[in-house]
Symmetry: C2
Subunit: 230 residues, 2 copies
């Protein structure tokens, strides 16, 4: 993994993305401790943070940009398992289960990443037990989402999953134009099916396609089609 160190080290103290993360409640001295031990890098789209099979050596904190967790199946087809934006923590699950990463982390949009070594995290947890609870809460939420995805994949049609994907991706990553291939990898289907379904949705007036960009015209109808219940 190659990293481009950033000259001027930002401080976690005034990192906006922190406000959304589980580090937000840390005391100043703990923030300083992280500051002293973290590694800050800029990563261009396409770069790997880590590969499936690697052991977990720390936590990747997304300050800006977008990162995807990708897994290859036996046929070489790739699946997007999770997507992270600014404020997200990546790779902390492997830290606690002491298993190698299940998937690879790939930068989707140029990103600033802070890497915090495992020892630093563990030190911090032993000093501030409250942090373990924060991780528990975070992991519980991630788990809930994973469980929901499992249910959806096993009971929703491709069209429903694609509708879901459109909503989810727009909701969480406003600006990015995801490719048909990426949408397919997230919705567990093929680019062809995505394209045909998008054409269908456009005919029904739920979305509009201009080149590669997709605009959601009728969010309500799309929601119904996706069968997501909030």
């Amino acid at each position: 993994m190659q990293k481009d160190p950033i000259g001027t080290k930002h401080s976690c103290g005034n990192c906006e993305s922190r406000s959304q993360s589980l580090f937000c409640s840390l005391k100043k001295q703990d923030i300083d401790f992280i500051d002293q031990n973290k590694f800050q890098t800029r990563q261009k789209a396409g770069q790997y943070l880590f590969y499936a099979g690697n052991p977990g050596t720390g936590i990747y904190c997304v300050t800006s940009g977008t990162v995807k967790l990708e897994a290859l199946d036996e046929n070489g087809k790739s699946h997007i398992v999770q997507i992270f934006k600014d404020g997200s923590l990546i790779g902390y699950r492997a830290l606690f289960s002491d298993e190698p990463y299940q998937s690879s982390a790939i930068v989707v949009e140029d990103a600033e990443i802070c890497f915090i070594p495992k020892t630093t995290i563990m030190d911090l947890i032993s000093k501030t037990p409250d942090l373990a609870m924060k991780f528990l809460m975070q992991l519980s939420n991630d788990f809930r989402q994973m469980e929901q995805r499992l249910k959806r994949v096993s009971s929703h049609s491709a069209a429903e999953r694609i509708a879901e994907a459109l909503l989810f991706l727009r909701e969480n990553f406003h600006d990015k134009n995801w490719t048909r291939k990426e949408i397919a990898e997230w919705a567990s289907t093929t680019p062809e099916t995505v394209i045909r379904t998008l054409a269908e949705l456009e005919k029904e007036g739920l979305i509009e396609q201009k080149g590669r960009s997709i605009k959601i015209v009728n969010r309500q109808k799309l929601l119904e089609k996706s069968k997501i219940t909030f």
Copy 2:
């Protein structure tokens, strides 16, 4: 939820299932604390521990028997999300994410269940911070399995998932004869497909069916067919 209290309260101190759970390293005084606050019940097959939508009020500890986590989709079809045997903890995820249960817990084989209230767990965690880490490790492992299931459902054929299911169910629940319907609900397919696939596997000499019981004859070949990689 109806419970049949057990007259003679067992002590967690000599509960065999504890050796496999994250409570195994607790000090005597903490075990005693749990003993004083837990509720022990016997549950018959078919009974519900909790329903999807219920708020999480504590942890269910399986002392003996088998419990499944079941979810209904929009079409009324049920899916088995997780299966628990003795030594398993159920419902702790909802405790930390403070969301209602996603699924219902149903006893599959007559079970002895200990219920430990949320407040007791939280008290314990605040006293012994190490316990939070234990929960983290447990949840991380459960998460890993959930992630793997997601990948399998999205990339494996029904036959592959059924082969997986046979191995998994036999591995973890030696004695139980799961119904074709249950196998289907675990493998995200239909009873008919399970039956046809079982006939296929029998013809290939990988399994033998005697009435409702299924015997794995060629575990190695079944493993290859399941595409599980260890």
